[in-house]
């Protein structure tokens, strides 16, 4: 029986020789993740289930990243609850303060997620780790509470959509543009309940951070997971971070796909997703004259070191447009430190940027960069829903770090070519 990579990983974790789309399985979980917003509810559920200990103290990972450093008393109470639970249970992987960053940047950076694993997180962007060749998907807090108690989860095996990217990338075009283009093509529910498998020669040449960006946004097309087979690039990335052993799965050449979509990347320009859906994309050259008040560079989508390097290249020797707020949030303390050593932070400061701590910050309208009514932001984040970054009448435009940095200088949406 021929299977896709997603089916193979699910079968292996369900203790079965094979699975087919639509099968309901109970699968063993390798890593269970929650954050400061979703963990409190999951911990409550865990308590209600009534087991004493989590299934494995090394495999339950809790990250305080959304409303930290605690933005108010209520947030502080939530984080306190999570911290105390982590201590009581003796969890080896609890991250807060100077050890913490955006969860989906922290886990790969620390080598906690590996190819072939089954990873479940109470955060929709848990799909990020698909970039390593893992099956990784987001759930809610009740599911996660049950996973913490049992180490298992019920899953429906999804049909897979194969996306093949061929051709030559144009300048300033990368993973963010490929995924925005894809979401524009499929629509925000185009991959509903489906696995998305990214492949083709363009993906094989894509650096690791841009693969993360693509898998990260699979959920924005409704996808259950967004997976990329591990290759030399993946192994190189992992070799610097962990010595743990793992198994590599690959799709059978003649595996059955629900749909196969071929995408010629040669004509794709840098993309901008207009309000209020990530699928509402246009090439940057057709953005028109959209004045902006804020630019945010960071998040689990584009808070990687290479993203900051990209933005710094554009900002070097330039200044953010007068009156515009440029906010940069490195994805992790290590990225922050490396950016400092490389002089990138200095470039940002000279350009007039505010550099925030490694956390989610304004991405979800939490704090540290909320928009007022009528304000517009270009952000390297992943969602531009109504009120996502603040007032319900504010607007968020999604773009890659090069476009975001160029827009900060221009004071309107535009690409690096216009500088």
């Amino acid at each position: 029986m021929l299977m896709t990579i997603t089916e193979k990983i699910l079968a292996a974790h369900a203790g079965r020789d094979r699975v087919s789309p639509g099968d309901l399985i109970e699968a063993k979980v390798d890593v269970a993740l929650a954050n400061d917003i979703t963990a409190p509810l999951a911990i409550k559920v865990f308590g209600e289930i009534g087991v004493e200990k989590v299934f494995d103290i090394d495999r339950v990972v809790l990250v305080a990243d959304h409303f930290v450093p605690n933005k108010d008393i209520a947030s502080a109470q939530q984080v306190k609850l999570v911290r105390e639970f982590a201590r009581e249970q003796g969890l080896t992987n609890y991250f807060e303060g100077g050890e913490s960053g955006v969860e989906h940047v922290i886990l790969p950076e620390k080598g906690l997620v590996l190819p072939g694993q089954l990873i479940i997180g109470a955060d929709s962007h848990t799909c990020t780790y698909g970039a390593l060749g893992a099956f990784s998907t987001g759930v809610g807090s009740t599911d996660l509470g049950a996973v913490m108690a049992t180490g298992e989860i019920w899953l429906k095996v999804p049909p897979t959509i194969l996306l093949r990217y061929e051709g030559t990338l144009r300048p300033h075009v990368g993973g963010k543009d490929l995924i925005l283009h894809t979401i524009g093509l499929l629509g925000v529910e185009g991959a509903l309940y489906c696995a998305m498998e990214f492949s083709g020669s363009v993906i094989r040449k894509l650096p690791m951070h841009q693969r993360f960006t693509m898998s990260n946004m699979a959920i924005e097309a409704g996808g259950k997971n967004g997976i990329i087979e591990a290759d030399e690039t993946t192994l190189g990335y992992l070799a610097e971070r962990t010595s743990a052993r793992f198994e590599i799965f690959r799709s059978d050449p003649d595996a059955h796909y629900d749909r196969v979509i071929d995408i010629d990347v040669s004509g794709i320009e840098p993309q901008v997703a207009f309000p209020h859906l990530p699928s509402n994309v246009r090439p940057v050259s057709e953005a028109g004259d959209v004045p902006i008040d804020q630019v945010v560079i960071g998040s689990c989508t584009n808070g990687w070191l290479e993203d900051l390097r990209d933005a710094a290249r554009v900002l070097k020797g330039r200044k953010a447009s007068p009156g515009l707020r440029l906010i940069v949030m490195p994805g992790s303390p290590l990225i922050y430190k490396t950016a400092m050593q490389e002089g990138i932070l200095e470039t940002f400061l000279e350009a007039g940027a505010v550099i925030g701590p490694p956390c989610c910050g304004p991405c979800l309208g939490g704090h540290m960069g909320i928009l007022a009514s009528g304000e517009r932001a270009v952000a390297t984040t992943n969602r531009n829903f109504i009120g996502r970054m603040g007032h319900p009448e504010s607007e968020v435009y999604l773009a890659n770090p090069l476009v975001a940095a160029a827009s900060a200088v221009l004071g309107r949406i535009g690409g690096p070519d216009e500088l």
Binding site: P40, L41, G50, T142, T150, E189
Partner: protein, 166 residues
């Protein structure tokens, strides 16, 4: 199932209603259901939280509940009083979350198009039939496993009974 029949007023919404508008992130610093319910749809439908009554029905278009995985979204809707959500389709994390907390969902294109805001409707969950001013509409039957979850009262009870055996 806990409650097979739901009868109430219809609250109608459009396509792609995301969890950010169901419960905006600024209200996520608490996880108490009653508190969450107070701010349900605060930005796009002010007044919903105060006017909705226990037993009411939410009807929406495509891809209801897309976006973040926050379970606070179905919790807020359920705590506000909604007993069933009918939509053309649901985002998958929302779908899991709702059944896990014992809030049933029905998929029906016909009902989503045929039911109007403010009307009354009667929903038979077991049969998957929806009756409103605009007619009688069939819904896709709730999958067996989901029906088991609703019958148990949610995933917590299901895990306690079936997995842990308490």
């Amino acid at each position: 199932m806990e409650k097979m029949r739901v009868e109430g007023r219809i609250w109608k919404f459009g396509d792609d209603v995301d969890t950010d508008v169901i419960i905006p992130a600024r209200y996520l610093n608490v996880s108490d259901e009653a508190e969450l319910a107070k701010n349900c749809f605060a930005d796009i439908r002010p007044g919903f939280a105060t006017d909705v009554a226990a037993g009411d029905i939410l009807v929406a278009g495509k891809n209801f509940g897309c976006g973040s995985s926050r379970e606070h979204a179905p919790l807020a809707i359920k705590a506000a009083g909604i007993r069933v959500i009918i939509a053309e389709s649901f985002a998958r994390i929302f779908y899991r979350n709702a059944f896990n907390i014992g809030l049933p969902l029905l998929e029906s294109v016909e009902a989503s198009l045929g039911l109007s805001d403010g009307d009354k409707a009667v929903v038979d969950l077991a049969a998957g039939m929806i009756e409103g001013a605009g007619g009688v509409f069939p819904a896709r039957p709730i999958p067996d496993f989901m029906a088991q979850l609703i019958a148990a009262g949610g995933l917590v009870e299901y895990v306690r009974e079936v997995k842990i055996g308490r």
